[in-house]
């Protein structure tokens, strides 16, 4: 900037308004700033892996990270470490049900527990040998709710090694289906069970293609190497054969407004991850179409790539990951129109390299369903090694994240 430009800038400032670098007013942002609370020195640096809410009695948040669970009441800042049925090893938490009527589930020390008040936990029986490993939120149409959960289990009975096998559906009433779907059986004719060990077959995202509270539509599950469709009664799984994208499946999102299934990938034949769509999915062999070719999305590695449909801004957030080429990323945001999502990140709301998130932060995004304000909910962003972040959904079109 030369002297004349500087002088012109100062002159404009003199007669018009403040000149501020950044996306929000300094004093306004200080006014909104909330104190960061260290979650016992653990969760502040933990990789937040799951989150749930419970509004029966009083509104509580629950989150897990570092094999511990923390809880706090809404509008409070203090997180407390919580035991589940006497166990401190809590690996996953999730909730189902409508506002004020939820049931919360947690996986603690290889046992699935349920609770309606957050303090009394009851063990949930599963089939013999099934060990619960994870709870997946099942996003309903348009991704605004996850009032169902999928319990991912593994079983060592088949090969002597942990092999992911059964998935259970917990419906909105908190009922766990008695007959889980055996994912292993659905791919037996494709690959030997031994190669299903580890993350390659671990479902990491789930989606329901029906409307909120309406049954009759199929579910989709994605793992690194497999994409499954489970029928509407949740008793049979089909492995989807895909063309164009062979592996690295991560996040799933279904939008009813354009009957489109979206899939993000971590990698594909060494070309990096991306965002793909399947228009009107129905066949067993699906052709994915690359929706986003922006380099920001296709860099590796992408971990916990998941979607959140942000009802405030009508936009799609994709939690991306740190990458070798860009360490400051957090998530990418795309504007939604009636035709679907834009193919490039929103100009003013691309938070991929935002300074509001710490370096190497990567997220799993949760909307605060139960804040009883659907037009202005809270949004939570779980990160790798940076704890939990919250945006109140107010103040600016660009989210202002505060570490919790």
């Amino acid at each position: 900037m030369n002297i004349r430009s500087l002088a012109a800038l100062l002159a404009v400032c003199l007669v018009a308004a403040s000149c501020t670098s950044g996306t929000s007013g300094i004093f306004a942002s200080i006014e909104r700033e909330q104190k960061v609370v260290s979650l016992g020195g653990i969760a502040a640096t933990a990789t937040v892996t799951s989150m749930a809410e419970l509004t029966r009695g009083s509104h509580q948040y629950f989150l897990t990270g570092g094999q511990s669970m923390f809880t706090r009441l809404i509008n409070t800042v203090t997180w407390n470490k919580m035991l589940v049925a006497g166990s401190s090893q809590v690996s996953a938490v999730g909730s189902v049900g409508a506002i004020g009527n939820e049931t919360i589930f947690a996986v603690a020390s290889n046992v699935l527990y349920s609770s309606t008040d957050g303090s009394t936990w009851t063990a949930v029986p599963l089939l013999q040998g099934d060990i619960p490993a994870d709870l997946l939120p099942v996003r309903n149409a348009d991704g605004v709710s996850n009032d169902q959960l999928i319990v991912v289990t593994y079983n060592t009975a088949v090969t002597g090694q942990p092999s992911y096998q059964d998935v259970y559906l917990i419906d909105a009433t908190g009922t766990v289906n008695a007959n889980p779907v055996n994912l292993l059986a659905s791919v037996n004719n494709l690959i030997s069970p031994d190669s299903l060990n580890g993350l390659s077959a671990n479902p990491i995202s789930a989606v329901y293609t029906g409307a909120l509270g309406v049954t009759g539509s199929p579910y989709y599950l994605a793992s690194q190497n497999y994409l499954w469709r489970i029928n509407s009664t949740f008793n049979a799984a089909t492995t989807i054969t895909v063309t164009g994208v062979s592996y690295g499946y991560q996040g799933l999102l279904y939008l009813s407004r354009n009957s489109t299934l979206y899939l993000s990938t971590m990698s594909n034949a060494g070309s990096g991850g991306g965002l793909y769509l399947i228009n009107s999915p129905s066949a067993n062999t699906l052709a994915f179409t690359a929706l986003v070719t922006n380099q920001k999305v296709t860099v590796n590695p992408v971990w916990f790539t998941q979607f959140l449909y942000n009802t405030v801004n009508n936009s799609l957030w994709i939690a991306t990951g740190s990458s070798s080429s860009n360490q400051g990323n957090g998530y990418a945001e795309y504007t939604l129109s009636t035709a679907g999502f834009s193919t490039t990140p929103s100009t003013n709301t691309d938070n991929y390299n935002s300074t509001v998130l710490p370096t190497s932060a990567v997220g799993v995004l949760w909307p605060d369903h139960e804040s009883a304000n659907w037009s202005n909910p809270n949004y939570f962003l779980g990160t790798l090694s940076q704890g939990l972040w919250l945006w109140s959904g107010t103040g600016s079109a660009t989210p202002t994240w505060t570490q919790q």
Partner: protein
Amino acid sequence: MKRLLPAPLVVLLFLVTGNLPLSAQATELTYDHHVAGDRSLTIQLGPMFPLAFQTWGGKTAPTNLTIGGTLGVDLDFYLNDNLRLGAGLGGMASTGPNNFTLFLVPITLRATWEFKIYPFSFPVGLGAGFSFTNYQTSTSFDPILIPTAGAYWNVTPSWSFGLDASPWILFQSYLPGGSIPASDSRIAYFADVTLGAIYHF
């Protein structure tokens, strides 16, 4: 600065010292009087109290800031015995809820009127200018007003020591349609109470 001996003091001096040795009579009693061109350099140091943020609609909110500190330097030129004009450079630091530091660096033009009751002076002035404002990664350039009132003891013709109290009023306004929403416009109120030293030269 000129050092004049007012007539009553001369008479009093003569009456009191008439029988004293000549060397004693040379004791100099002075009266501070400033003329155009005299200069003063003021250094101030003290705590800064964040008071409130206010929207342009009048709604106020706490600042979320801790009590900070301020340091300032003013260079003034006397136009006559009571009025001086000059410029000031200040600095202030205060921390937010998460220990990020807010920095304000105002640069102001200042007019000061000194009420005098020997050996004290009571400067009252107004500074207006702009402040560089920095918090985390954001920097802004904001209009600022700093009215000041103080009380000083003129210890020697060259040095005065005293107190100042100054509200700082910053205007951070954003126009509709800009990259920063107009709803983020604020008027920020701070106040400092400083110990000051003035060097006259």
